[in-house]
Symmetry: C4
């Protein structure tokens, strides 16, 4: 279901509000988007700083005030969106609508003091709303370009990920058998965790092989990880380098019977060279 503008016959303030809130081709629309961006950043920053104990001890009340103020704005915004859209339910159930709703839920829920700690995660989901802003100017095409390339590569990437996961499970199990519990490889899931840390070249070093055989296996896994990064990279590069589709051949397959000129525009009726009727 597409988000649809209000009925053309509806009140003019409604149509105007729709264009400001949902669109960004007017000056007011762009200003609204930028304000929204700033509000999102501030509210997420407040969430982040609240979690730092010394900052919370000193500026806690201010941060909570910012949080409430921003949530107030988001509530007004959400209600407005519901009001001006032609089919409010369709909007409320769309991806964008759900994300907009999630932006106001956690603060409201904290009034009822329900699981406020776990709700911080939902609060940061507000950041997803930033992608709304990519409607602005040059970003539309660029974001779509990346998404299109990823979408076109999705099966290839899925095959690649399956291969990586299989590799990681098999080598993880192998390392569990080779290194054993006393070197940190206490279970197969933990060994698989280590294999992922190694293959992706993250390499925390919280678990690392100690035996000669283990270090040899690890070396093989590292070189594999180093080399097969080429696969997803190659897939996406090749996808992005492929032109969308070559334009249809730009010429009319006709030769002027007077001057033998070719390469006329497809819709040409007269020869570009001698002016004769084609």
């Amino acid at each position: 279901m597409k988000i649809t503008p209000p009925d053309p016959g509806s009140a003019s303030w409604k149509r105007r509000a729709y264009s400001v809130i949902f669109e960004s081709d007017t000056r007011a629309g762009r200003a609204f988007d930028i304000m929204l961006l700033v509000a999102i950043c501030f509210s997420v920053l407040a969430v982040m700083l609240e979690s730092v104990r010394p900052i919370d001890a000193r500026y806690g009340p201010i941060l909570r005030a910012v949080e409430w103020f921003m949530t107030g704005l988001f509530i007004i915004e959400y209600l407005l969106r519901l009001l001006v859209v032609r089919r409010p339910l369709a909007y409320a159930l769309s991806w964008l609508g759900i994300i907009d709703f999630l932006a106001i839920v956690p603060t409201l829920a904290s009034l009822l003091s329900v699981g406020s700690r776990n709700l911080i995660v939902i609060r940061t989901l507000r950041l997803l709303r930033v992608f709304r802003i990519f409607k602005l100017g040059q970003f539309v095409g660029e974001g779509e370009f990346i998404l299109t390339a990823l979408k076109a590569s999705r099966y290839k990437i899925l095959v690649f990920l399956t291969a990586v996961l299989t590799l990681v499970v098999v080598i993880g199990t192998l390392m569990y058998v080779v290194e054993g519990g006393q070197n940190g490889f206490t279970s197969i899931p933990k060994s698989i965790y280590w294999a992922i840390v190694t293959l992706t070249t993250v390499g925390y070093g919280d678990i690392s092989p100690v035996t000669v055989l283990g270090q040899t296996l690890a070396s093989v896994l590292m070189i594999l990880g180093y080399a097969i990064i080429a696969v997803p990279t190659g897939i996406v590069s090749a996808q992005m380098a492929t032109p969308a589709r070559p334009a249809a051949p730009a010429f009319k397959q006709v030769i002027c019977h007077v001057c033998q000129a070719t390469e006329h525009r497809p819709e040409a009726e007269y020869c570009w060279h001698c002016g004769e009727k084609l």
Copy 2:
């Protein structure tokens, strides 16, 4: 040796079973493949969870029951495959056949209580059977695309790996001489292990250079590792970006009977060389 369908004259249940088990273009065939996928994932999950001591202590019997049940299914499946295929031996000795067989061996071997610990690795090899599923729908072409690109790049990647290994051995030895045993570089193989950890940008930190000269050498190695990742990536990207094959040369497979000229345009009626009717 290709896996071949049963004789067309054989019992109709055989031909039907073959199409369900080995093919995936019927609805039943697809359902079978998906069931198999689920069974594989469950049995590997059971193996993994069994290795976690607290889980094994509580749910051990359940996990082993799952394992036995799944193995039972795999045995039935394996026997069915042997039964319906035209040449059972050819199947049993093919790659797929061996992997199917390995899926049932470890559990059976545990009855005789032989080296069950080392057999866990073989159990996880069941995961390789997941790739069977890639016969399904869109995946065939995609998996093949990746394999073809890797195959076409294999000599280039081999040259690259040889260069990397040489580099790693030479710099590893250099670090062994520079840093010496007291900083963790206790032997050349260990130093080479460190060089691989560094060049592939894994960087555990279990061994890291301490002397100034060592850190300088390590910096060079890191920047090298950071830059030469471009080589395999470039190889695979270029390979994948290359169109499959230029269209077959656009020539008519005909030789002029007068002048023996070849390479005529596909729709040519006269020889381009002597003007004779083709």
Copy 3:
């Protein structure tokens, strides 16, 4: 504002000095550039070595002498640049002029003993002057090629970075909730720092997940980080593989005075639409 050569009517030594100092197509110009390169490297090396306590204890006076000597040269150079350029203010306020000025500020400021410690950073900014040298020979085109590709990709990279930052904030917060303070994830900013360390595959290991859920989340993040490196790489590869620019649109900049048709072939003499002489 472009840096402009001195008035053609000005003293000949001025015009000669300009060509030596600002240009590099004469032999003297190139020699000057290379001397400058050497001076920059020496002065930055002196700054670096001064910070190593044992070296400073022994060679401190020598290093400071080098520093003063180089700064002397840079002052003379800066004054000369101001002198020979046609509009000294335009030069002084240009990027290059500011960097040239920054090269002499810190040493002079140390005379007044103001915050000499923080000024070391500014001293190393001298290195930026190295890019002047890229005017030399083959480097012009190459550096420009890289910059052009990056510039053309800037919106795509910005979209990508926004996605990465959102991901890192959301997963960082999730880990803060999952792991909690006792495992090092003491605040959301610190968890985000960890998420960046992990996603970029740096993996220090100063903070690493301990709980099973945390390690699972970390695994997902690592594989994401490993796979999405393909996105910027693909963007830049595709950009660089794209030929400079498709030939200018092959149309004549003329409108038919009869039928107003545009888009005529460059060599057209008659309108393709109405046959009128163009």
Copy 4:
């Protein structure tokens, strides 16, 4: 100076030996190359294992025997090469000649008991001789392909490395000022070492930022490192994807005056459509 075959008038054993030792298009030449490959691997393996104390304690004499045997072979090989080549001095002073010579020097030098420890590095340089083998079969073109792409990209890569080094020096110094000695950033060179470890995404964790500002700076550096890996990768990918040179347009720019057919083969004398003389 090219390595040249012996005078055609010279003894036939000489010409035969040359073809076996220096070339690889005969069966004997290929066998010799493979033997050499095996000998190199064994001798380097012996060097590596000798450095492992427990192995050296038990198998030391065997390893040294292998070493002496291999060196004996290499001496014979080197003398043979000198003997059969037309201009021995040209060979001895060529890259390959020097590497061949370095393969025998360290063992001989150990007779005089000179600095045997440092000579291990030279011993492993024998590995470089492996690249001789790439004369074999398919590898010639592949190795050359990689080298050509890297050579064509060398100025771009140099510009990139200069930018990376500048970045690393400036951020390293900044971190030295921000974090200070007590957190491990004891000097600018050490901070630069840390910056390289971080930018290249190696991330040992032997030094890692502790202050908030330091961790913020480190995050920026990591994301930079993660993103700019796209630059060398893009450079090499684009280089490798570029076809050698597109073939010349395959058609004659002529129209048959009888049937108006176009697209004749470049050397066509008669129309492919109506057979008329063009």
